[in-house]
Symmetry: none
Subunit: 214 residues, 4 copies
DNA sequence: AATGAATGAGAGTTCATTCAT
DNA sequence: GATGAATGAACTCTCATTCAT
């Protein structure tokens, strides 16, 4: 008797292929990663690869699906509403940045952005399972804060996007372009603090709505 | 005797190769662009290509160098300080976004971000000749505004980065990921207006400095 | 105990494999037909195929043997001698042509002729069980007609071959080469009529034997 | 200065590739002949092959075109009208049969018939450049003979097809199926003689037209 | 008896690169 | 200086076949 959580041998092998292929795709990019190389790392023959995935694109799609699953974890925005506004945003901003700074996540972003023209679904899938969900959660949180008068009324989704953008403004932007030294965790925290401060001032409740559509 | 401005026949040919190769690299990416294809478009033989550039990487490097020159035009921030703060920022933000939305610029960003790990100088060169210069100019402008009391005191470079980030927050972010429909010029303007509003409120002079290190 | 007519489960499965393989070999040719494809159509695994036939060649041989059985039906020449000479020949010629024009028979001819060099027994088996038998029957019939003075004396087998060749002269010849449009049943009948007329005139009894060796 | 008849080095190489590929295609069939094998026989690399022909199909097409050229020689029907009817037909029939019995021509027929379904142009090209031309010439000749009263009036093209079919009736038919021993030249001559006799009797002038449409 | 899984060999094709002319 | 021709290595993908279960 096999419980739901147990994987058949085939599924296990499949997962292992995906996992190895993921590493290679991330490291070398879609075009430069070869099926031979992947097969060799997997420890099987090319034909075996093709017994599991009918073409390179399909393997890539499975990798994409697999990674995108990882992005949908709620760890980042789990206890978004816990303390006061600034604390909540700081905690969340730090987690967001910590996540998108991870080497693997960076590689993913490079891959997706680099191939977005040639694999249009790629960006779609990732955005939906990654940033979109975080934005949704932050947006809901901000909406509530607006309802409670802790922030001025404004389009909450756009506000969430502004918040996210402010967090990424310096360090992540430079990492994407791979320019300058990797920012240290301290710098990173500095930047998120600054982002939170700017955001809170901009969306402070004492002024009339500002980014609402006219 | 040849003056500095005149190009030898060899240099002219070289330029023409670079220009054609640029278009192809931008359209197809580094890996997918083939020397055969480039040679065919140039109208010469592959061997001729190799007479000018000793390998594909070198040709790519030359293309990169060439493009980086184009990004240094001052049109975007030319008359940055012309009217009142909001007008200046709006005008500049619109030009920034209009520029980075151009198909060719988008292709460049994809190429550079996608290959940044494998061609580390790529991002460096681009950031220095592109965004960095704009950020410098905006930063100077903001510094002056702070000096004049039209904005609160804060790290002007970080402020410039915040401004840039707010402008890119929604539309450009999605274009990078190639998700959803291409934003219309009207939406784009809306977003820049919102960015300017948020920025000005955050950096309004009536409050204590906020993004300074504590 | 299993009587001759009953098939064991194994034999039944074997037959079903042969029957499906036949269809695929006929449609795709020997080289292009893949064991995977056959196994998939059979509904079993490739390993099962190999449990019944030790290699592709053997499976093909079994298919060949099987088909050759089907060609020995007597429908074509069943009531060869029924009326007058012309009627008998017309009826028989029409049936012959109708038979060899069938898509499956055409596919068979292509397969056998195309692979005859690489599978020499193929042609042998087919000729013996197919054309040879028809030729024998027609030959016997013509022999009798000669004995009765309705045809001049001649080598009856060669006469039969001439008759068959005349029937195939135009339409079937072009179908083999796959040239021009598929002849209609009307054209086909025209051609057989012409063949019968030419044959009967050539072998009319009022002249001396003509195809006898001089 | 290069005369029309001389071939450039490229053309010569191309011809040599075609000639070697021809031998291999004829011997192994289209599917079983591999580009690697052909390249090896040519003495170059596969990439060179692809510099001359952009895919296997194109190389095959070039081979087909080349062979079909060989079929259009007029040697067979050159001096068709030289003596009396029987002599002319005998001479022509013998040449026809001698030609289509050549090993290379047999291989070609197998190839074309075997692949006719998958390469429909194949049969077309061959029939047009091969049999069709001979049939046209024989048909013209028969037309004249009919005009002169040496043969009865009838559709001359059908008559030509009948003549050709009678010549192929036994020996060539069996060679196509690769059944029985290869007929000797003597047998072959016997058969053509018989074919001529049958044809002449059938189309003798003393009877009413017979294969005309009713 | 049946099968899912595995594989070496080889298919057609393209690549960046070199070299004699 | 320019080129046509050549190539080895690598690519994605498929094949007939085997073996542990």
């Amino acid at each position: 008797m096999v419980s739901k959580i147990e994987l058949s041998s085939r599924d296990r092998r499949r997962q292992s292929i995906i996992s190895i292929a993921k590493a290679i795709f991330l490291k070398e990019g879609y075009g430069a990663a070869s099926m031979s190389h992947i097969a060799a790392e997997v420890g099987g023959s090319k034909a075996t690869l093709y017994a599991y995935f009918k073409c390179k694109t399909d393997l890539f799609a499975a990798v994409v699906e697999s990674i995108s699953g990882e992005f949908s974890g709620d760890a980042i925005t789990a206890d978004l509403a816990r303390g006061d506004l600034r604390d909540d945003l700081l905690r969340t901003g730090l987690r967001l940045i910590a996540f998108i700074r991870q080497p693997e996540t960076m590689a993913m972003q490079r891959l997706v952005i680099g191939e977005a023209e040639r694999f249009p679904e790629l960006g779609q899938v990732f955005f939906e399972t990654g940033p979109r969900q975080k934005l949704n959660q932050i947006s809901s949180y901000l909406q509530k804060a607006m309802d409670e008068g802790r922030l001025r009324r404004a389009d909450p989704m756009l506000a969430a996007e502004h918040f996210f953008a402010l967090c990424r403004a310096r360090g992540h932007h430079r990492m994407l372009w791979n320019v300058g030294p990797r920012p240290s965790p301290e710098e990173m925290e500095q930047e998120v603090r600054a982002a939170v401060a700017v955001f809170c001032d901009a969306y402070a409740p004492h002024l009339a709505p500002l980014n609402a559509a006219p």
